[in-house]
Amino acid sequence: MLTVTGLVKSFVTPDGAVRAVAGVSFSVAQGQCYALLGPSGCGKTTILRCVAGLEQAEQGSIAIGGRVVSDPNTFVPVHERSIGMVFQSYAIWPHLDVFGNVAYPLEVQRPRLARSDIEKRVMDVLDLVGMQAMARRPATRLSGGQQQRVALARALVRRPSLLLLDEPLSNLDARLRDSMRRELATLIRQVGVTALFVTHDQVEAFSLADRLAVMEQGGIVQEGAPAELYERPADLFVARFLGAANVLAGRVEEHDCQGRVRIALDGCGHRLTLIAQHVPGQSVDVVLRPEDLTITTLPPAADRNAIPGRITALTFQGGSVEYEVDVGGSASLRVLARAQADLTRGASVWIGIDTRRLAIFGRAGAASTGP
């Protein structure tokens, strides 16, 4: 449905040209929801704007539904592309009411549509987003969630081949974001439209996307289904970005014939034993997700990997608690677990590590994980 090949786009700033997108390729299948995930400034929004036709790429090509809309010799202007876009600010026109906003894409269509057709299609799409009753409400009197629905209805009303969403949930407050995220996921599936969206929030990407690409500095670092990326991050950057991960630096000490290695952690001096391919002497980063760690006041069985420490801070997060545990040296670990009465600030605890759930990256960049 959408094919992007070798896309390059730079911007001229006072400091010289900056490559915002440096040779990006990916494709989105019909009906798929694809996310570009990355920190701000990684080039994801620039790609989206190139696909929309709001920016022109220097190199590479973009094809929507088999039609090349952008390559070094072709540039189909934005208004001639079969797209619908939801902007980060929602960009609801304040001088029009809900109906006027949603009807706009149909009204500017040539040849003209009959008024009755426009009305029917607008009301249908407003019904879809649950805004039919508010068709005549002025745009200035809409809440954030309502604005988002109107923006979505406006993007869908002319039945585009491709729906583009720029950080669609970042303008909502935290609670509304959760419910709108679920609603948006259902809606996109229900309509069956092919969608490309950008976000910096991995929860958003995981819950909305069928496939996603993690981006860094203008390039795609890893691409795949959400579970794939979560389970097998390609490098430290992806691992860090996909979860608020703990990263401990260490060094491989031993490597026995069964493929077991022992890793001494820098700073705190504790050791982990696990199965991996790294050779002795190699510097590694050990990535531990807070939700994969256990925390107890009793020492675990001797054959389990565990690190002792002391709780320095607790942050309640609804049902669970995030514990900040000082494990000696300058290292500390964050652990996400259920609240327990004996886990208080200053308590001595053991952090249990399931070696199958951690990732190790050699400093050179090669990854290996538990079996």
């Binding site: 929309a52 036709g53 709001l54 920016e55 022109q56 540039f75 202007p77 934005v78 208004h79 001639e80 592309r81 797209i83 619908g84 876009m85 902007f87 980060q88 600010s89 929602y90 960009a91 026109w93 304040p94 001088h95 706009y104 894409p105 009204e107 500017v108 269509q109 923006a151 406006r154 993007a155 002319r158 583009l164």
Partner: protein, 571 residues
């Protein structure tokens, strides 16, 4: 960012017409002026057969009349006026914006009066009030103090000219300075207070440094505008034998007993334009600094107001004095004179009352022609400038077109071009063209339309307030640029555009210099007719016409008062 190559052919055409018009309206007459300054002989147009290159006009600038009379007179006039205008304007602005002055809104409107009526209306009223022999104020003072005629006030002197110009220009300074005062975040001062600074320390260490660029920028602009003044130097300065630059340019074109000296007038304009350009560059630098200092958010803050206490009386006295001289007395003396002629208020009888002046005026064909021309020219030029200014604003704030900064410069340049020079440039250009535009209403419309700076700035500010995504989502909805302009941008810009339009309409009605320079029997406008009536010794008729002009302008002001007060005039 949308780029130029995203625009379709229609969009490019519309924008090109906008940019082309700006250049045509401003740069072409200026270029003509530049040519004329180096072409001779003097009474030849620059491209007339027989004209040749010459430096004689430039050499003529060292004429002793210029160096010993005009230069000092201009200097004294400008410096004197600026000092008074700035001091009074700042005091009034501070009183209205930052103190607990009673009736602030009313004072605000009254202070603006001189800015809204044509300057010849005021000039004539002030002559009625302060003429050395029969001026009302002189009569009152002489009666009170038992003095002999003439005097004691003589409006036909440098002091009188400065007083009148100051009265006329104070509202301009007032608007600029009150915008500065209003834009300051009071939290800046409060933070100083909570840091332990006293009121005076706060003023010295915080208020003054923060406001300084915002005060200096208006000072520069007032200097520039004062140097450009022509109306009062003509109507009041000429009888007083005061010669300033702008009047001298007009004199070269309309000498008493010889042919017009085009080259001389053009050469005289050059130092004027250079000075204007320098002041403008300085102004833009200061404004950029002021903006980064004060109006970061661009919003007006609720200001902490100082209680006036015993200073209430002098404050009210100052305001009353200004409003009396600038608005109430001029309006009163004009209305009275139009009905009673030279009979004075206390000694007039019912027999002196007459509407003859109005009857004469209404039966005068020239009056109706002038009224029609005034309205047509003001409306048409306001429309042109609003349209071109909007397109320029879009190009400057939104497009990636390479020449956009040059266009910005061209539009800003219009502030530095005195009306008399603008009129001269247009005159030279259309006299040289073999099309019969000279002497028509159309040439006035074109000449008036060079004042692009204000609308361009308003439009630029307007576009900056419109989130770019509101425009982009129209494109992703399938709309072409022209549809986006019509259906999204213009509706969203309407408040700013209509404020600019009304402002330009008032400027157009006020215009006196350009139609005087380009005067013909067919394109007479009311302000020029007013001066002619006054010159030909018809006080009652000219007072009647002045009263009618006030009556035409006032309703427009009241309709648009809020938007005018708060946004456009301050630009």
């Amino acid at each position: 960012m949308p780029k130029a190559d995203h625009l379709d052919v229609t969009a490019k055409l519309v924008l090109a017409v906008g940019a082309g018009s700006a250049i045509y309206l401003i740069a072409v007459p200026l270029a003509m002026l530049l040519f004329a300054a180096f072409r001779g002989p003097a009474d030849y147009l620059p491209f007339e057969p027989g004209a040749r290159w010459t430096l004689e006009h430039i050499q003529a600038l060292t004429d002793p009349v210029i160096t010993t009379r005009i230069l000092p007179d201009t200097f004294v006039f400008v410096v004197g006026t600026v000092v008074v205008v700035f001091a009074v304007g700042l005091t009034l602005a501070w009183l209205v914006e930052r103190t607990e002055l009673p009736g602030r809104e009313i004072w605000f409107s009254l202070i603006l009066f001189p800015l809204l009526v044509p300057t010849p209306v005021l000039a004539i009223a002030w002559i009625f009030l302060m003429g050395p022999n029969a001026g009302w104020l002189n009569l009152v003072i002489r009666a009170a103090l038992g003095l002999e005629a003439p005097g004691p006030i003589n409006i036909f002197s440098m002091g009188g000219l400065i007083l009148c110009q100051a009265l006329a220009s104070v509202p301009f300074a007032f608007l600029l300075l009150s915008a500065t005062l209003r834009a300051m975040d009071p939290a800046l001062e409060e933070a100083s207070g909570t840091s332990g600074a006293s009121g005076f320390t706060t003023f010295r260490r915080v208020t003054l440094p923060v406001l300084l660029p915002g005060l200096l920028a208006p000072l520069i602009l007032i200097t520039l505008i004062t140097a450009e003044q022509f109306e009062l130097p003509l109507i009041i300065g000429l009888p007083a034998k005061i010669n300033v630059f702008s009047y001298r340019i007009y004199f070269e074109l309309n000498p008493l007993s010889s042919l017009p000296n085009y080259g001389g007038a053009a050469a005289l304009s050059l130092p004027f334009l250079v000075l204007g350009l320098l002041l403008l560059l300085l102004y833009n630098r200061l404004i950029a600094r002021a903006d980064s200092f004060v109006t970061m958010t661009g919003k007006a803050y609720r200001q902490r107001r100082l209680p006036l206490g015993v200073w209430r009386i002098p404050a009210l006295a100052l305001l009353s004095l200004y409003v009396a001289l600038g608005a109430v007395l001029p309006a009163a003396v004009l209305l009275w004179t139009s009905l009673f002629g030279y009979a004075l208020p206390l000694s007039a009888t019912a027999a002196d009352f007459s509407v003859e002046a109005y009857r004469q005026l209404f039966s005068n064909r020239t009056f109706w022609l002038g009224l029609r021309n005034t309205l047509i020219v003001a409306l048409a030029s306001a429309l042109i400038v609003t349209t071109v200014g909007m397109l320029l604003g879009w190009i400057i704030s939104r497009s990636q077109i390479r020449f956009r900064h040059a266009l910005d410069f061209v539009s800003v340049l219009s502030v530095g071009i005195p009306a008399v020079i603008a009129g001269l440039g247009v005159m030279l250009f259309y006299l040289s063209l073999p099309i019969g535009l000279y002497g028509t209403v159309a040439i006035l419309i074109i000449a008036y339309s060079y004042r692009l700076a204000t609308t361009t700035r308003l439009a630029r500010a307007g576009f900056l307030q419109i989130h770019r995504e509101l425009e982009e989502v129209s494109a992703t909805s399938g709309a072409r640029w022209i549809a986006t302009l019509r259906r999204v941008l213009i509706p969203l810009m309407l408040p700013a555009l209509s404020a600019g339009f009304i402002l330009l309409f008032i400027v157009g009605v006020r215009e006196f210099t350009i139609p005087l320079v380009l005067y013909s029997q067919d394109n007479v406008v009311l302000s020029v007719l007013l001066w002619q009536l006054f010159q030909s010794g018809q006080p009652a008729s000219s007072a009647a016409l002045a009263s009618i002009i006030i009556a035409v302008v006032l309703p427009v002001i009241f309709v648009a008062r809020r938007t005018l007060m708060r946004r456009s005039l301050a630009e």
